[in-house]
């Protein structure tokens, strides 16, 4: 069993308690409203667009004043935005080196991946890879 960051563990457990797929979707919709750092649509660019995602999703990684990792993102579809929000909450304030080591398996733990279409699952993995690479670069530059 992987050791997830504490906020992510809480979210994973929350999803594990869901009764069915509809409840998991409902929870994802709720998280879509809880983006810690929403990327306003006017800041959506080709550079920060998540490739391979059928809906529009945009993500940027930044460091806060203490060197903590931040994900700024948003999507036009709530299920995608919910996934961005969970990731953003889960890694918020971690060191980039910690984010770079994170595994995307938490979506399996949440039993969410099975509810995603292959294109959406690929879009999520692309996004995750992009975030992890950025974190690795930030970590090397630190």
């Amino acid at each position: 069993m992987t050791n997830w960051p504490a906020p992510l563990t809480i979210i994973i457990n929350e999803f594990k308690e869901c009764f069915d797929r509809m409840e998991r979707y409902e929870l994802l919709f709720e998280y879509a409203e809880k983006l810690p750092h929403e990327l306003q649509t006017e800041k959506w660019t080709e550079e920060n667009r998540v490739k391979g995602c059928q809906s529009e999703a945009h993500v940027e990684c930044k460091l806060d004043g203490n060197g903590g990792f931040q994900i700024h993102g948003a999507a036009d579809a709530n299920l995608v935005q919910g996934l961005i929000a969970i990731l953003a909450i889960g890694v918020d304030g971690l060191l980039p080196s910690q984010v770079a080591c994170l595994s995307p398996n938490f979506v399996d733990e949440m039993d969410v991946k099975a509810s995603l279409t292959p294109s959406r699952a690929n879009g999520f993995l692309n996004m995750f890879e992009m975030i992890r690479n950025t974190a690795a670069n930030m970590s090397e530059g630190a």
Binding site: F19, D20, R21, M22, E23, Y25, E26, F29, Q54, S55, D76, A77, N78, L79, V80, S115, L116, T117, R120
Partner: protein, 429 residues
Amino acid sequence: MTDTRVEIQLSLRDTMDDARMKAIRSDFPILTRTMDGGRPLVYLDNAATTQKPRQVIEAMNSYYENTNSNVHRAVHTLAGEATEGYENARTEIAAYFGAPRDHLIFTSGTTEAINLVAYGWARANLSKGDVIVTTEMEHHADIVPWQILSKERGIEIRYIPLERDTLTLDMDAFEMAVSDANLVCVVHTSNVLGVRNDIEKIIQLSKSKGNGGKGAFVMIDAAQAAPHERINFLEMNCDFLALSSHKMGGPTGIGGLFVRPEIMETMDPFITGGDMIETVTLEGSTFQKGPQKFEAGTPRIAEAFGWHAAVEWLSPFDMKEVHEHISNLARETAAKMSTIPGIKIYGRHDLESCSGVVSFLHEKIHAEDLAHLLDSGGFAVRTGHHCAQPLMEALGVSSTARISFWIYNTKEEANSFVEHLTNIVKRFG
């Protein structure tokens, strides 16, 4: 948490009685499949591809189990049987569409059929300054080949707009545009709006007024029409008719282009080699005559067997009755959906000619989210731009969700779809 059950009284007219519908559905093994949570599959993505009756599946299995061989060349028994079956399929499929066998070129589907018109006929017969008229309503497959040709040859493309209030083609604009058109390319039935264009009038105007009164050539994209109505190529009086097997119960990977032989003779081969060759020397090559000239490589033999079985399966049906069943489901489902708060319907389901397609959006729930939420209830629906981005632009949207009915869909399925959608909107809207 459990589903909030809502009471919805639907009064869908059912032109197919229960026993008949049960018999139809029993031919489709996939319709007995259960989905997530043991829910029955409700397949509402028929405009993308229909399910296949067991007769089609058995015909293809039987071909591979008993007959598999390459066609036209070898003298052994299997090759003879495969050739006979393949060519018999051509005869029977062509007959289903009211044409002799030498009018049907097998292609991979509608897209390749339209590209064959562009690369095989238009390149050989159109030149700089010529005019192609098409519409805003087209599938990308009936836009992109003309754009490429236009760029290569300096051919002008005129797009007939959609009347924004009626969601039908602007026929006044068509009449003006067609006067000096050399080729007219129009979709028979929209895969987004469910609107059936006035194809008869479009062909009549193209022939009487096109090309300065000499008559324009006409290509009809009938991919969405073939599952709904019995099309007669010769009676239709167009020059090219493109369609796909998989949208009418047949397998994927095969479709056809209907062309009269005298026009076929003016076409150059599009893809070369294999079955389309007559002789090859180092100095040059000669090609087969007729449809075979355009069927390069090893043809789609098993698929031809399967498509043949599909038209045999469809043949006993009165397609007017089938159309009525499908359009009634679409019309009355669209009417019920339009009463769900936040749902907007895109299409003209008040028209008798409407197909089984209902495109829709919710003001707050993204189309892709809707599709996921509907899928959780066992409902297979489509989302996206449906390969019709210019039409999406005309509608002022980037994508829609879409349900589409076919012959085996029931009023109970339509009712449960509306019920599930209502629940989704209550919960997520």
